[in-house]
């Protein structure tokens, strides 16, 4: 842990004219947010933000709480999944946040009991997802729908979907035979495999190029307006972190786990750690198309009101930096 300033409750979003800015960054304590973990552990953020900025991190256990904090003005920037990002966008009618970068892609699979070998065998089975309307939940429902299997939000239909929290409870229920499988993110999918499950669908296989967004970096619009340079510093840190992860994977694993250990008191088991890093790709590309598709799917399965995502991205700062860095630019 290299960056925490617990002083004051920080209202950096207003800037309030002082030269000193506090940036309140939220993320989740899991490997899909490894960009944040490594960035903090290796000091990429503090270095790039400079001495004029105090970085204050808030760690949550679920994206919903992050959305809540963002909308309540308690966070300036946050690593969030696609769903919380869409939620925050929709709830504030496009006024609260902007996605300024991607962070991670991939890392989810449908794992089922070993006897099940085809989609059609799922009929009458019960499957877990992390929570109603989250990315995996939508993916599963849409996948079943496109294979002609019906589901309902209350667990009815051809396939019974049970949103089970926490994810570990789903693993436990799978292990003790209460459910037949689940569409779970890393490392829980690998844990279910370790408990005798088998990957029926790797989510990556459903997406063009095997890429779909798992983690975004969003900022509060007010903060972006007031402190563009700080946001740019944050992005620099994140690019550096992802770079580091991709170039020194095993060192990054160690760093991420070290950061998790400070946060949670105990890191991941090495098997889970390795599996997660293997499944997840860390990229600054927000894979905008997958977000739109994701939203469309959610609307299709009735878990989202139709929403226009026009303007949810502000990738200008990222592209400026990528260009300067000699990397490929990304498109919304």
């Amino acid at each position: 842990g290299s960056s925490s300033a617990s002083s004051g409750s920080g209202s950096g979003s207003s800037g309030s004219g002082s030269s000193h800015v506090t940036l309140r960054l939220g993320f989740l304590a899991n490997i899909t947010h490894a960009s944040a973990l490594v960035g903090l552990n290796k000091g990429f953020f503090t270095k790039n933000l400079g001495s004029g900025v105090t970085l204050k991190t808030s760690v949550f256990s679920s994206g919903t709480e992050e959305t809540t904090a963002l909308l309540a003005g308690q966070l300036d920037a946050a690593y969030v999944g696609p769903n919380p990002a869409i939620n925050a966008w929709q709830k504030s009618s496009g006024k609260a946040i902007k996605i300024i970068s991607g962070a991670a892609s991939g890392g989810a699979a449908l794992v089922v009991k070993s006897g099940i070998t085809s989609v059609s065998q799922l009929k009458g089975k019960s499957l877990a997802t992390p929570s109603l309307g989250n990315t995996q939940d939508v993916a599963l429902r849409y996948y079943l729908k496109s294979h002609g299997l019906t589901t309902t939000q209350t667990g009815g239909g051809d396939v019974s979907i049970k949103p089970i929290k926490p994810n570990s409870a789903a693993v436990l229920q799978f292990k003790s035979g209460q459910i037949d499988g689940g569409w779970e993110p890393a490392p829980y999918d690998s844990e279910m495999v370790a408990d005798g499950g088998k990957v029926l669908v790797n989510e990556a296989s459903l997406w063009p190029g095997g890429k779909f967004v798992t983690t975004n970096l969003v900022v509060a619009q007010s903060f972006l307006k007031a402190h563009a340079s700080v946001v740019s510093g944050l992005l620099k840190g994140q690019i550096a972190a992802n770079d580091y992860i991709n170039k020194n994977t095993s060192a990054a694993e160690t760093a991420a786990n070290a950061e998790l250990t400070t946060l949670l008191g105990k890191g991941l088991k090495s098997s889970a750690l390795a599996a997660s890093f293997k499944e997840i790709t860390f990229t600054d590309d927000p894979i905008a198309s997958s977000l739109a598709t994701d939203a469309k799917h959610a609307v299709a399965v009735g878990l989202l009101q139709p929403v226009s995502l026009n303007g949810i991205y502000d990738l200008g700062p990222l592209n400026t930096l990528l260009k300067a860095d000699g990397q490929a630019q990304v498109s919304p």
Partner: protein, 291 residues
């Protein structure tokens, strides 16, 4: 053995204790007034709460995330017109009642034993409070391991959270039993079970009812925690609704469910109050709350 009364002095004294009954008064006249007296503060509180809420909303405080009363109540109104919500309320209430009934039996037996058997008290007395501090999610994995994803698992969580509170209520009551009453019971030849039934139990009734109330509240913690994890097909429940709404950051929906839970809680408390009021009238402590 019949007891004979000396006749003369009794007759002379009869007038001494002659009961004079007042003419039956306008007995039921007050029923409307009473209902009104109980209702208006609640209504006033409700209106006040709504007004404050609306003012907060209008002030724009956290309005990106905090819905106003209009939005929320509309949401609630719509949900109330769906069979879904009613079915969820039904399911959750049924589980609450069954779980509570089980906890009642277990908590009462445990509380009775622990409060009366000294070594048992020393052994597990403190454990009961410690069990109460365990967050309800702790029980969920055990419930799943023991009972799978079944209603029984949910009930298990309810019992594990509610029973210690009920037992503790009983123990607390027994601790402050007036010793004179206990001695009176003993000189009458009441022993063990009959002493418990005829003296200790009724004497601790007030504390016991308080314990029941706490047990009910604790049970709900367990119930919702259980319902979120153990989802049973075709049985929508308030726990699932709440967690779904929270997951989707649907604050209006979540607050609607919270209001439903509060309404149930208030209804149950009114029920407890009926019992409590009855006990208080019996004990002659009904007029205490007046200043």
């Amino acid at each position: 053995m019949a007891i004979e009364t000396p006749q003369e002095p009794a007759a002379a004294l009869a007038g001494l204790d002659q009961l004079e009954l007042a003419p039956p008064q306008q007995a039921k006249r007050h029923i409307l007034a009473k209902t009104w007296a109980a209702a208006w503060p609640k209504l006033l509180a409700l209106v006040l709460a709504l007004v404050i809420w609306q003012l907060v909303y209008l002030s724009g405080f956290k309005s990106a995330i905090l819905p106003g009363p209009a939005t929320t109540l509309t949401d609630l109104w719509h949900q109330l017109h769906h069979a879904q919500l009613w079915s969820a309320i039904g399911t959750t209430l049924r589980r609450a009642v069954i779980g509570f009934a089980l906890a009642l039996v277990i908590g009462t037996v445990v509380g009775a034993l622990v409060s009366r058997i000294r070594p048992l008290r020393a052994a597990v007395g403190s454990l009961i409070t410690a069990l109460q501090t365990l967050p309800s999610i702790v029980w969920v994995p055990f419930a799943i391991i023991l009972f799978g994803a079944t209603t029984t698992a949910i009930l298990f969580v309810v019992v594990m959270t509610a029973a210690p509170a009920i037992a503790n209520g009983l123990i607390a009551g027994a601790d402050f039993l007036p010793p004179l009453l206990l001695r009176a019971g003993k000189t009458m030849g009441l022993r063990r079970v009959s002493l418990y039934r005829h003296v200790i139990m009724p004497a601790t009734l007030p504390a016991f009812v308080t314990g029941l109330k706490q047990g009910w509240a604790f049970g709900w913690h367990g119930l919702i925690a259980g319902e979120v994890v153990v989802i049973i097909l075709g049985q929508p429940s308030l726990g699932v609704f709440l967690s779904n709404d929270q997951d989707q950051a649907d604050m209006a929906g979540a607050i609607s469910i919270i209001l439903v839970i509060l309404a149930v809680g208030i209804a149950v408390d009114l029920l407890f109050n009926l019992v409590n009021g009855r006990i208080r009238r019996r004990w002659g402590v009904a007029d205490n709350s007046a200043s």
